[in-house]
Amino acid sequence: MSSSTELRHPQNQPPPPGAPLFDKPVSRLGDKLFSSAATGAGVLILVILAGVAAFLVVEAWPALWADSEEVPGGDGIVLYIWPLLFGTLLAAFFALLIAAPLAVAIALFITHYAPRRLATALGYVIDLLAAVPSIIFGLWGLSELAPLTVEPTRWLEDNLGFIPLFEGPASTTGRTMLVASIVLAVMILPITTAVIREAFLQTPRLHEEASLALGATRWEMIRMSVLPFGRSSIIGGSMLGLGRALGETMAVAIVLSPSGGITFNMISNGNPSTIAANIALDFPESSGLDINILIASGLVLFAVTLLVNMAARAVINRRRDFSGAN
């Protein structure tokens, strides 16, 4: 640093002999070390992600070639995982069905309906919801929400039983796919809302004013300017939420008492488990091939969430490009 004055115009002035000879290599070494440390960290992340995939494949390998009889259920690995995958998709799908419209409404409320000061506080409250540990949602779902659903599900069975979803018999404990879906919906609400809210906030004021100046009411303004602008974020945010719901473990593990195969019946005790919940429930007691089988199911879950998340990111990033071009 002592030679900073001499170095101020390195192009114009010949370096005075002596000093820079000592300074330059040191700073270059620092640069090199620092930039390679930074690059190394970045590469490490790629390695970790590749490692996650590789180790899971290695550990899952024995399960893929195991005899059918050795797999729990005795019908082979595919028929073991398939009901779990079905349960995972079913719970996540209904969670999304509940959460997505709510998330759009909340994002609209925060960005365009609530008074500004209140809106900031509300945004914070929603973010807080994201920080609540999943185990708490599980305990809450089981002890608070599940009993509340017993009456309504009985009503659903009596009056809407002709729909396969509500075929029944209605559970007397409330430990149903419906409750699992609602809990998941509550859990993915914050992330979905956050993405959509962000997009709604970025709606160009110009476009909002353009529709208002034409004599649009607030809702008409939202339909003309805000929703078209946020459309891909609504899709992207929902898919991110879907990814979360697919991988959520503890809440489902606590709420569901898995005892059935594939069924669309949302309100009965007999329901499939999900991949993640099944791992959490069985892993601590397993050994040998059973562990490999569970890891194989985890690999399937990994692949599914990876696909969903990549699709979600692609959609969101496309919006970013689009709005940047404007």
């Binding site: 110009l206 529709s211 208002l212 100046a213 004599g215 649009a216 009411t217």
Partner: protein
């Protein structure tokens, strides 16, 4: 269609901050009224109170009266949404809806009020609006293409077409040419001279030559001093304002001795 606007003792606030004070003026129908003045003197703020866009800013409010042919725009029973339907606005930067086609942009405002309109009527309206914005010949072959694909000047004329499509009484223009090149500016200025046959036009501009070229009446806005609210200094026929204004500050400003 054109209507007279009378403003009486209008004070404009942002919360507790008084931005513009004591404006009174009469805006004649079938004429172009230009509002000029240095940055931050409240021209645009004033313009936005004429169609009640000002109150979109939280806690913004006005005191005083704005009358359109005798009806108080700030009366108790007046719906701000209906006011904006009668008084159209063109913004500083062209803002066609990016997700809509040219056609849909033009009828965007019309669709709000007229749910069931025949296709042929709609087509006629689009053609008429685009013609009155001098844009028809340029876009008639690509009405279904997105409006954002047009050049800046074309986009601004599309916005004018969108504003006149709802057949307003008054057209407000907030520096409509400031984002445009000279040729596009020329096109918009020509358009203004045609539109004033049918509408009352109020334009805010930074460009004094533009005010001199297009307007019949010019109002000069200024801050009394730094930290004071802005206000209307003088309003007169444009030729008078630019030749023999009665106020010293106006003369300084129009002759470029300002600031």
């Amino acid at each position: 269609m054109a209507k007279r606007i009378e403003v009486k003792d209008l004070d404009i606030y942002y919360d507790k901050f008084l931005a513009v004070q004591g404006v009174s003026m009469t805006i004649e129908p079938r004429s172009v009224t230009a509002l000029i003045g240095p940055s931050g003197c409240g021209k645009s703020t004033f313009l936005r109170t004429l169609n009640r866009m000002h109150e979109l800013v939280p806690k913004a409010r006005v005191e005083g009266k704005v009358l359109m042919d005798g009806n108080d725009l700030y009366g108790a029973q007046v719906d701000p949404v209906a006011v904006r339907r009668h008084i159209g606005m063109v913004f500083q930067r062209p803002n066609p809806f990016p997700t809509m086609s040219i056609y849909d942009n033009v009828v965007a405002g019309v669709r709000l009020n007229n749910k069931r309109m025949k296709k042929s009527e709609m087509d006629a309206l689009v053609e008429r609006s685009l013609r009155s914005a001098n844009l028809w010949d340029e876009v008639k072959d690509r009405l279904k293409r997105p409006g954002s694909g047009l050049s800046g000047g074309q986009q601004q004329r599309l916005c004018i077409a969108r504003a006149v499509a709802v057949q307003p009484d008054v057209l407000l223009m907030d520096e409509p040419c400031s984002a445009l090149d000279p040729i596009s500016t020329q096109a918009i200025e020509d358009l203004m001279l045609e539109l004033k046959e049918e509408y009352t036009i109020v334009i805010v501009t930074h460009n004094m030559q533009q005010a001199a070229r297009v307007s019949d009446v010019t109002g000069f806005f200024n801050l009394k001093s730094i930290g004071e609210p802005g206000g209307l200094v003088e309003m007169d026929e444009t030729t008078r304002i630019f030749s023999t204004p009665s106020n010293k500050a106006t003369e300084d400003y129009v002759s470029g001795r300002f600031g």
